[in-house]
Subunit: 376 residues, 2 copies
């Protein structure tokens, strides 16, 4: 062992260039490249070109020997190449469209690129938006825009002020005698209440559908899924346990909905109230929303499993249940569940997002399909 | 040289423990430590204890040899210590209060801690909130809360949709015939339009002052300082050049204000319109706002220099100019400027934030001092 090390040392002293044996990255011309949509004003990378290729650049510590770009949902794990200035680079076509998170792995340790708007995620990550040639329903257009409001209310369950985001449609401030139906929309386990409008572009989707007359003007309320009582252990996955769901239910049914009905011009009856969510938010829609099925007429469960205990459903109130997932998830399961529900006399339908998995493009599409079907 | 390297190699082979010569960090008991205010739900660090000490922990690549915690405004540059699990740690009392940004320097390269809510900054950074024993005007309380709305409008100057945040006070939705004065509030060069409500806690300060009857209910509009025409070079500091200020002025005066007057219940006259900003936002208040002094009755320049060309000021419209900075900035300059303005028959006053520099605590305090003085 010592001999081997000695030989290595001597080799390095005689031929130090072996340390730089890997090919240096040679940057293409900067022409045709511009900052990608989420790139920070003062950062130069990530960039995108007209072909839709992305160019990532990252500064690792000088001793780094292996730097990898990881775009998990798109299945990308690509070694980055060092350039003459010591930065690590990767240029690629990302094989999925829509909102993609990424991080950089330096010698096995995960880092966040400070150059892009972070995603809340399971710990913050970088983000890029991969243009979709066939979809423009989530692109901001010259239509009347609603506002997304940061709204605070006190919860006696977790003994703190909670933040919710509330979408009020265009016209809300001028048609002051008009009241609106309400959709409660929950995020997934790796997110917070901000991500339906950030990653999900819910407000843009609503503005566009309402402007086209495809969805009715509605209020959309986005609450945080997580409710911890003082003393609850926050280190584990409490929110997946019955206690976490119970905490949420008590806050949501007992506090959040009455607060919204008090502060916004809702039509505060079950026929004008809907609940939907993605992943954990879909589970919550099932476990909390459908447990109170005399309160909501419409339900959307996006990549959130299937309906449990359908016999509990109040058929006099519930008008429609919508189940969705990506084609790479479990389309057969939701198709079978919809058949079961319809067989019980509960109106239900499903939607399968083509070519997607458990990812934001599935949920943007799910919301876009769901909104025209409710409050009509 | 080769001989020295040979001696080093042999030494390392014989005594590999010299590589681990530094003392390992020994973690204190976790008791009494909890997640700090901005710590991510799924992250364990930074933590804070009852004494107000912070504990930072960061995972660097395994080859890292020097890891430093940098809290620039507080003057902290502290070597972190490796623990037995390979994480780098620092425990300290931060010598400044309020909102503090930080980053981690690994072998000379700056990294972002993925464990906290990022600050937009000059490239994203980590954040902590250091409690201030004497100040609670920016702590959320059980008072009526206004909403902060994300509002989009199209600009023909930079040919894109722009985002503004608009604070509407509690009661805005119920007192539907009431109209309100408007404060336009600009951020600094290292920020964006989100930071007055995030780092600055402007909405909390407004809610508290309005609830106490110290400030009148008002609308507050926070626009982004940066306006680039198609083809403008975005790589430099255009926003500090005359072109950048002109671009902003054209967007702000010609588009943003009319858009707000069209979409919100403003009192759309100069006596009920104010403009203020911090740092670059103060410069803009001076260079754009005071260049249109027949449009605004009140001005706030926070750490943004002094008034240029006071002879241009429309004394029939302008009722008050407020200049502030931290005691570690240039209090003499603003005191002299206020004297000059008063000597010209323009009502002006100054405020100096004790013990602070060019930092958020200066600007929170400046806003808190300014709001009671306007629209009265």
């Amino acid at each position: 062992m010592k001999n081997n090390a000695l030989i290595l040392c001597i080799t390095l002293m005689l031929f130090p260039s072996v340390l730089n044996a890997q090919d240096l990255f040679v940057a293409p011309s900067q022409e045709g490249w511009e900052r990608a949509e989420y790139t920070h004003r003062q950062a130069d990378f990530p960039k995108i070109n007209a072909k839709g290729e992305f160019w990532f650049r990252f500064q690792a510590p000088p001793t780094a020997s292996e730097v990898v770009l990881n775009i998990p949902v798109a299945g990308v794990s690509m070694p980055m190449q060092k350039d003459a200035d010591g930065f690590w680079n990767a240029i690629l076509t990302i094989p999925k469209v829509g909102f993609q998170i990424y991080y950089i792995v330096v010698d096995g340790v995960r880092f966040l690129d400070p150059g892009t708007t972070p995603f809340y995620g399971n710990g913050y990550t970088g983000t890029v938006e991969v243009p979709s040639p066939d979809e423009d329903y989530y692109v901001i257009k010259d239509v009347p825009h609603g506002d997304v409001r940061e709204h605070w209310f006190y919860s006696d369950v977790d003994k703190k002020f909670r933040r919710a985001f509330v979408y009020t449609p265009a016209g809300y401030d001028t048609e002051v005698n008009r009241r609106y139906p309400v959709l409660y929309l929950q995020h997934g386990a790796g997110e917070d209440e901000s991500e339906w409008t950030h990653s999900g572009r819910a407000a843009v989707i609503l503005d566009n559908l309402i402007a086209e007359g495809k969805a009715v003007p509605m209020i959309v309320v986005m609450n945080n899924d997580f409710v911890y009582r003082p003393g609850d252990d926050r280190s584990g996955r409490l929110y997946l346990a019955p206690t976490g769901i119970e905490n949420f239910g008590e806050m949501f049914i007992g506090e959040a909905i009455p607060d919204i009905d008090a502060h916004y011009r809702t039509i505060a009856d079950p026929a004008h109230r809907a609940m939907a969510g993605l992943s954990l938010g879909g589970m919550i829609t099932n476990q909390v929303g459908l447990a109170h099925s005399s309160m909501f007429a419409y339900y959307g469960i996006f990549s959130g499993g299937t309906v449990s205990n359908p016999e509990r459903i109040d058929k006099n109130t519930v008008r429609f249940i919508f189940e969705t997932c990506g084609s790479q998830e479990y389309p057969e399961r939701i198709a079978a569940d919809v058949e079961t529900l319809n067989g019980m006399g509960i109106k239900a339908a499903s939607y399968v997002s083509p070519g997607t998995a458990h990812e934001w493009q599935t949920w943007r599409r799910s919301l876009h399909e769901f909104l025209p079907l409710i409050f009509k």
